[in-house]
């Protein structure tokens, strides 16, 4: 197989495999905020023995795994309002300090969900502008400007198969030019000043196939690799 084979077949990652892939890039000692939803799953897939410290906007640094059933503490929840735990070394702080950590570039990585990302790294993840519902922004805009590096995890296309990586975002922006890396169910893509570089694609996929699902021009990185997570139940 070459990267230009148009008839190749491939299998998209499932959500846990996407989370797994994003987790592999979280380095020992990194302070990381995981957005609500899929990003939160990444916490489960940090390689064994690697210490990564997770931050939660509601005032926790050192978030642990989900509590065992029956051990939930009503006063210990994460940003998604699910029960959580605190690991050794974890601490609590108030909201303004939690967001000082976010806004002041103290976090190494903020891993966010997204509706759309532009080739310039513009992020749209806070409103679909549905006029029948009130808008909600939560901590999205704070998270999108604050961390040292902003990464996105999302399905490569919408439910109708249309690209979500766009030349220009159609939805209102969360922040411009902030995204540096995109993890999708098909690829890992870096946003650079020279454009979008494909670092990894799922086994069997070609650049042409990926390009067809992506609005702006993709370039294949010199050292690109196959994206091959372990098998996981979806």
């Amino acid at each position: 197989m070459t990267s230009s084979d148009k008839t190749a077949t491939y299998k998209p990652l499932n959500r846990d495999q996407m989370a797994w892939r994003a987790a592999q890039d979280l380095q020992e000692g990194a302070y990381v905020n995981l957005g609500i939803g899929m990003p939160t799953r990444a916490a489960s897939y940090v390689p064994d023995g690697r210490e990564v410290i997770f931050h939660s906007e509601n005032g926790i640094l050192g978030l642990g795994p989900k509590p065992e059933p029956g051990t939930e503490d009503e006063n210990l929840i994460d940003a998604g309002k699910n029960y959580t735990t605190l690991i050794k070394g974890g601490v609590f702080m108030h909201h303004a300090d939690a967001f000082l950590m976010i806004r002041g570039k103290h976090l190494d990585v903020s891993l966010l969900g997204a509706f759309e990302v532009s080739e310039a790294g513009d992020l749209a993840n806070w409103t679909t502008e549905d006029p029948s519902f009130p808008p909600g922004v939560g901590g999205a805009m704070d998270l999108a400007v604050g961390a040292k590096e902003i990464r996105v995890i999302m399905d490569h296309t919408d439910k109708g198969g249309k690209p979500r990586i766009l030349k220009t975002c159609r939805l209102p922006l969360t922040a411009p030019g902030c995204v540096k890396r995109i993890y999708t169910n098909l690829a890992v893509i870096d946003v650079t000043e020279q454009g979008l570089f494909v670092r990894e694609m799922v086994e069997g996929m070609t650049l042409e196939q990926l390009q067809a699902l992506t609005e702006p021009k993709l370039q294949l990185a010199n050292n690109w690799q196959s994206l091959t997570p372990p098998a996981m139940a979806a």
């Binding site: 509601n58 006063n75 309002k81 967001f99 939560g138 805009m141 704070d142 209102p172």
Partner: protein, 223 residues
């Protein structure tokens, strides 16, 4: 002898005026002063502006105030959380105004008021819809948005323990907005699980110093 304790939630919220700005701490159902919110409902003040991260759930607390038509405006970051039908109905009926503020900016605006500042420039919302109509300024190549301080007439707080001066400690993530809102209101009232002897809280570990607290009511832990 200083004693900020009051006998009931009703006494704790006494005096709230129509049109008051009410800071309501809590994140989801955690760290929220349920009893004080119910007491505020009984108390009767109306035309309230509520500052809270979310916009109420079900038909208790903040949602009950909204359902009773007592809330004119909500300043929050994320109304769509849990069963927010009370807010949604009022929003759709246009009987309630929404000021949507990013979560960290709500906190920092209250911090700015608490610290006696006139406002600050923040990078959050720059180049977005939420900055429309706001003053912006480029500083060292980055675009910032001017944010005004945010102040409450009353803050409704929940803590784990208090002493008679009003020093407070919290329980884990129930800390959330409580310490910031305590600093940002003219009148800060707190419901606590337990009142402890003055001097029994570790002076290195008190989170909210007594200077920020006006009234304390013991309601016990959650059932």
């Amino acid at each position: 002898m200083i004693d900020k304790s009051v006998a009931s939630p009703a006494e704790a919220v006494a005096g709230v005026k129509d049109g008051a700005v009410v800071l309501v701490a809590g994140f989801g159902t955690v760290g929220i002063a349920d009893d004080l919110l119910e007491a505020l409902h009984e108390q009767g003040a109306t035309n309230l502006t509520i500052v809270h991260n979310n916009a109420g759930n079900g038909d208790t607390g903040l949602a009950r105030l909204i359902n009773s038509g007592r809330v004119a405006k909500v300043i929050c970051s994320y109304p769509r959380s849990g069963d927010y039908s009370a807010f949604l109905n009022a929003y759709r009926a246009k009987t309630l105004e929404l000021e949507l503020v990013p979560q960290g900016i709500i906190s920092e605006r209250m911090h700015a008021h608490a610290a006696g500042l006139g406002g600050f420039f923040s990078p959050v919302t720059a180049h977005t819809k939420l900055a429309e109509g706001k003053e912006t300024r480029e500083i060292d190549g980055v675009l910032y948005v001017f944010e005004k301080p945010l102040k409450g007439d009353i803050a409704l707080l929940r803590a784990k323990k208090a002493d008679r001066w009003g020093n407070l400690v919290y329980d884990q993530s129930a800390r959330n907005f409580n310490p910031i809102m305590a600093m940002a209101a003219d009148l800060s009232v707190v419901q606590v699980n337990e009142m402890v002897e003055l001097g029994s809280l570790d002076p290195e570990a008190v989170v909210t110093p007594s200077i920020f607290i006006d009234r304390v009511v013991v309601v016990g832990a959650k059932a």
